[in-house]
């Protein structure tokens, strides 16, 4: 059924595209924050262990699965899985290899569009003269689509569309003419921008250009090991999670890229080269940019506080302000380099997310390259719009949790069991070593069969039952309080708080504290409840709503803040979940139709 004539232009092109797939926003924003939150320099030990026992084996597995499927004209996981597992349910388990890509792309392209917009704002000098608060508020305003920061109506939607257009256009040029060509231009530029910013970051001198610390203070903070953190399951789970994110594992894109490699060609060396290139960008460049620069200007305590909200906050709410210390011209150049770097990192990953979807449509329904690329763009637009429109209601976080975290681990577990136990490690090992340009250490046969599946099971089980405050010593047969980000906690919505109904007549306080601020911004009314220990919530209300509290009121969680027509966050969360589930089922439907077609045509 497949009429695909796609192929890679050069081996270096394939490796750069594969490394580009792995190198993403997480390399620069997530890794340093994870390291700071999980023991500084000691994080690198579990991180490396997870890379060797989880990352490298999964790279071998995914490249092998891809190349194996490619021999039969399958470029996506559903039919490759069925070929390997022979039973029909493997076909449907392979759905994850298409679903995750489209679901992740739908919010990832939105984040990517922020970087594009921030390049524009950095170059045009929007951030010049802004205070730190104003730069942080700029981000809030930007993600509130009804308010424009440039005069362009629906600015966030405009940049999202622009970003999708660029992605679809490159994808429509094909594998070697689009994805590979883009990777060959982008990856060297990305490394160049990364080196420029890393040098700027680590050469900061206290007292110069407003810096309060040397750049090396940030490096010191990041790399000073705290060995006691090695005994914490939280740190190990974080390290395993980071390896998944950084290598784009459990997603289906590696398999798709590798499916265009011929049976006799090497995959072992290619996998190692792309994997280690990603590690270089993450550990060497990623650790030398945002942490040294932000600690250089804000100090350690402030950065610890800021990183508690994750790397995105630090990158978009803080970095543009810090660059202003370098004067208008260097600030514009640094903004261009930093957000350009993030854009490049993002687009090489989102292009990889588009390829499996396109390959599926081309293989199974004989669609043209152009048609499938623009269909991908359209699908991402439809699925991504809720993340744009309801970003502040948590829809993007919900997509990220289920498609960008849970689905990846689950799929990696499924493919490892299939590869090692169903397909069989003997045949699997032959696939890995066939045509290899390096000698793969024999120990990996044992690791792939036993250690990797076991580690994946532990990671998945740990994510299911993660205890509140990561107090693993509290696990007992009598039960324990679940972390709100554990899978069971998420399903039971333990972190929702008192506003549990979709629609209500009252809005309740979600934390204890004092009403310490009441203000109007962009024609919206806000009140802020702070507890004086860093926990605060800004509550938005309409003119028609009736406030029950006033300035200085002491409120407890569950107290009424205002009465009126309220649509609570929980509504948007469930809406996002139902949307993702529907997309998964639609993909299952596509695969069922494709299966029937293949059966009818006798190509399966």
């Amino acid at each position: 059924m497949s009429s695909s004539t796609e192929s890679w232009g050069t081996r270096v092109g394939l490796i750069l595209a594969m490394a580009g797939n792995a190198v993403g926003l997480g390399n620069f924003l997530r890794f340093p924050v994870q390291a700071v939150q999980n023991g500084g320099g000691a994080f690198i030990i579990p991180y490396f262990v997870c890379f060797l026992l989880l990352g490298i084996p999964l790279l071998f597995i995914e490249w092998s699965i891809g190349r194996y499927g490619g021999q039969f004209g399958y470029h996506t996981t559903p039919f490759t899985f069925q070929k390997m597992g022979t039973r029909r349910f493997w076909l449907y388990l392979g759905t994850f290899g298409i679903f995750s890509n489209i679901a992740i792309a739908s919010y990832y392209c939105y984040i990517e569009s922020w970087t594009l917009s921030y390049v524009f704002h950095s170059v045009t000098g929007t951030f010049q003269g802004m205070s730190q608060f104003q730069v942080a508020e700029f981000f809030n305003t930007y993600t509130d689509i009804f308010v424009s920061t440039t005069g362009i109506p629906f600015e966030a939607v405009f940049f999202f569309l622009l970003c999708l257009g660029i992605n679809s256009w490159i994808l429509s040029k094909g594998l070697s003419g689009g994805v590979e060509k883009a990777a060959k231009i982008i990856m060297p530029l990305l490394i160049f921008f990364g080196i420029f910013l890393a040098i700027k970051g680590i050469t900061l001198i206290a007292g110069h250009q407003g810096a309060v610390n040397d750049g090396t203070v940030g490096l010191n903070f990041l790399w000073t090991p705290k060995y006691d953190s090695l005994w914490s399951p939280k740190v190990w789970l974080a390290a395993a999670g980071q390896i998944f994110f950084t290598l784009s594992l459990g997603q289906g894109s590696v398999q798709c890229f590798a499916s265009y490699v011929k049976k006799k060609d090497d995959i072992a060396l290619n996998a190692m080269s792309a994997g280690w290139m990603n590690e270089f960008v993450e550990v060497v460049l990623g650790s030398a940019i945002i942490i040294p620069i932000s600690i250089g200007y804000l100090g350690i305590d402030k950065v610890i506080e800021l990183t508690s909200a994750g790397g995105l906050g630090l990158g978009f709410r803080t970095m543009p302000f810090l660059f202003q210390n370098w004067g208008p011209i260097l600030a514009a150049i640094a903004g261009l380099a930093f957000f350009g770097l993030l854009f490049f990192a993002g687009i090489t990953s989102s292009l990889a997310m588009g390829t499996p979807y396109m390959s599926f449509l081309r293989d199974e329904f004989n669609w043209s390259r152009k048609k499938s690329a623009w269909f991908f763009g359209g699908s991402v637009l439809i699925l991504g719009l809720p993340t744009v429109l309801f970003f502040q209601q948590g829809v993007l976080d919900e997509y990220d949790y289920w498609a960008g975290s849970v689905a990846l681990v689950l799929f990696a577990l499924i493919e490892t069991i299939l590869f090692s136990w169903v397909f069989g490690i003997k045949k699997g090992w032959k696939e890995i070593t066939s045509g290899a340009d390096i000698k793969v250490p024999g120990i990996y046969k044992f690791i792939i069969k036993w250690v990797t599946p076991l580690m994946l099971l532990i990671v998945f089980a740990g994510s299911l039952i993660r205890p509140a405050n990561d107090e693993w010593n509290k696990l007992s047969f009598n039960g324990w309080e679940l972390h709100k980000e554990s899978i069971i906690g998420q399903i039971m919505q333990t972190g929702i708080g008192p506003n549990k109904d979709y629609c209500a007549g009252e809005f309740y306080a979600e934390n204890d504290g004092v009403v310490d601020s009441m203000y109007v911004k962009d024609n919206r009314n806000y009140i802020r409840v702070s507890n004086g220990k860093g926990q605060q919530s800004s509550i938005k209300y309409d003119n028609n709503d009736k406030l029950v509290v006033e300035m200085g009121s002491i409120v407890k969680t569950g107290d009424i803040i205002y009465t009126g027509k309220v649509i609570n966050r929980v509504f948007f969360i469930d809406f996002a979940r139902m949307l993702l589930l529907s997309v998964f089922m639609v993909n299952v439907g596509f695969i069922y139709v494709a299966y029937k077609r293949r059966k009818r045509e006798g190509t399966i």
């Binding site: 232009g9 270096v12 490096l219 790399w223 060609d265 080269s273």
Partner: protein, 47 residues
């Protein structure tokens, strides 16, 4: 920077950079097999 942090950083970054360079050079200098391979730009015939 304190000594432990410096040692940690230098060892980690040197190991990663060396391995990355080693594998990439190996890719660059490994001769392609004489038979047809996956890469279209190696082909004699225009596609």
């Amino acid at each position: 920077m304190n000594k432990t942090a410096l040692i940690f950083m230098i060892i980690s970054e040197t190991v990663i950079t060396s391995i990355m360079v080693y594998f990439f050079l190996k890719v660059l200098f490994t001769k392609p097999t004489p038979e047809s391979d996956s890469y279209s730009e190696n082909n004699d015939v225009e596609r």
